[in-house]
Symmetry: none
Subunit: 427 residues, 2 copies
Amino acid sequence: MAMEEIKSLQIGIVTVGNELMSGRIQDTNTSFLARQFQWQGWQVAVSLAVGDDEEMIARALAFCLSQTEAVIVTGGLGPTADDITTAAVARAFQLPLVTDAGALRHIRGIFSRYGLKWTDNNAKQAVFPQGAEIIANPVGTAPGFALRREGRIVAVIPGVPAEVERITTEGLLPLLRRVFPGASRHLAVRTLKTFGLSEAAVDQAVADVDLSGAEIGFYPRFPENHIVLSVRDGRDEAAARARLAVVEEEICRRLGTHVFARDEETLEGVTAALLREQGRTIAVAESCTGGLITDRLTDVPGSSAYLERGLVTYSNRSKVELLGVPVTVLETSGAVSEETACAMAAGVRDRAGTDLGLATTGIAGPDGGSEAKPVGTVYIALTDGVETYCRKFSYRWNRRRIKVIASQAALLMLKRYLAGEPPAKIP
Amino acid sequence: MAMEEIKSLQIGIVTVGNELMSGRIQDTNTSFLARQFQWQGWQVAVSLAVGDDEEMIARALAFCLSQTEAVIVTGGLGPTADDITTAAVARAFQLPLVTDAGALRHIRGIFSRYGLKWTDNNAKQAVFPQGAEIIANPVGTAPGFALRREGRIVAVIPGVPAEVERITTEGLLPLLRRVFPGASRHLAVRTLKTFGLSEAAVDQAVADVDLSGAEIGFYPRFPENHIVLSVRDGRDEAAARARLAVVEEEICRRLGTHVFARDEETLEGVTAALLREQGRTIAVAESCTGGLITDRLTDVPGSSAYLERGLVTYSNRSKVELLGVPVTVLETSGAVSEETACAMAAGVRDRAGTDLGLATTGIAGPDGGSEAKPVGTVYIALTDGVETYCRKFSYRWNRRRIKVIASQAALLMLKRYLAGEPPAKIP
């Protein structure tokens, strides 16, 4: 299928504020704006953050304008002396500053409506570069504004995240669609979440898939690796979705059960959904994972429907008392062993009266390892009262990461069991 | 005391990755790096984010180099085809790419040590621009590298946050201090971690503290609020530390037991240290926190010394069977009540034979609330067999945040008890 070539609208973002440059504040506006633009089929080519410095704002603006067709500037529109974005933009465009009577009425109106004390510095928020188009702010005093020159546009909006969100949806996106009517593309996106393969192995497994018309990206999210597929098409959203479905199917075929969830789904979420669908209940006995499996399962709303109990049996005594693990098993095989893991899973299932029992035992470190059982040795067992599955894992990583990856392996074993896929060794 | 005027080192940051440009990922590396540099007395003048695009990386690099003396590039050092940062930097500097034998051994060593399957694309991470100084990566396969030209430096490091943190502390900061020896200032820094006061309340409580010579910053880290105090002095580190101690003492005096930890300490860490020091043991019974308290306590190495067991008694049946909560209590007061919380704490302590019992019960939502007990109602109880403390909390927030803030309140109640401070209502 021939894809119509439409150049995507290229956007630059400049965020302004000293608090960003000291690391005091985590900028969230850029990723919000980027998502909004991505959904329109537009492309953020570059984003910059600079302090409240007129010269630096002007340089950032000039750099962005040399790279992109639309530049969004956020922040530095407040009433105080350190807010100088409007002045910097006016200077960069060599425009005088003028007060907008309508904007001034809007600001004064907010002050009188909420009984706030007027101070003259607030009038600063009604000052704009001459000829600017004003962008209304439905949730704050400072309106935004836009300047157009030679087919390019600079839009300036406040930096308060709640204001950015409303102004973007209600003012900025409509403005950009109006200025660049041909720039929208239909876009279909799919995230596939994988576990048990390294980023390089995922890459290699899908290297020769025919991607024509689609783009692929790899995103490690310990302990998961995410694949993002996207298809753009200038004319036809249905065609984009169809093309995406073909590529997705082929990639899923190659990665098999390593793919455990899509888009916003989580491993605990899909596992919980299977438990609910099948009306099955579970009890969990954790040693090395320390409660993390239960914590993850209870992050899903409504978890009391399937989770009867979770026991963190850290001591040998609690393994014997609460799970009925035979003392002889602990003495002969040790607390970290296949025998103990299986006895824990069986014991928690029996005593809780649930359909399934899931158990972990291992050495999270940094101490407690031996040559035979080094730090990172983990046994995971799952039983339904008839069949019992047990796997041994050898992880590197630090204590927290061993807990995280072991909880992931345990949930995946459970998910595969519920999905009718025989639990297999997860590398 | 006169402060010696030293020009601050100007730094630029370039983060690379399509996932940043689509808004899929919130960049946290820039603010981490900015804080680290701030603590050295250095200044981030500009930061840029660009996609995995060779041309755009080169332009961003050129722009940063025109504005600053040191440019840090993060991201795009992975083994996959879309990771092209090294190639882009080499091209920008017009340098050929060469394989470093030592780096290749390092990467192959990791693969063989952990029994990972070698694929040839991994060798890409041992390729650097000719003449580059390699920056070791203690926690991953991809080393970083630095290039120097005309008194300026470009340092390239991976983008995985855990790797950024280690490489920055162990490799990047020492490198920059070596290259720009005159730019360092003596600096004394202290982070105070608080819980139970809003950012505005913390700000107000310390508003009139004499800060002269010191700077203060507020960083909300849900559910904690962190205060960072810093003192700079061009000549004398001892004087900076002494000044810091005075300011710190006054701020701690005002915030009282809301300050629970300093610098790299965590609430679970200081609580665990108190348990170990006092040789006390604990058992935990969790309902609404779903295992999170136990998960946090077991994140601390050596937790088996004090944690005997943790029970996630989600069902009423498990509360009765495992904790001995009387059925009449559940029937008359309900599972979410002071009576149940106290019975849970007493029950888990008795049956585990520990010194202390800690329990939570509540409604994490989104369902299950009522007018009398809305979502966010949480009871936390602590008992030592003689005294029992129980507090009721009413949280807003979503399910995950209710779990997190309730686990925090429970650990703080325990920490205060151990520190000899009567557990008080934590707002």
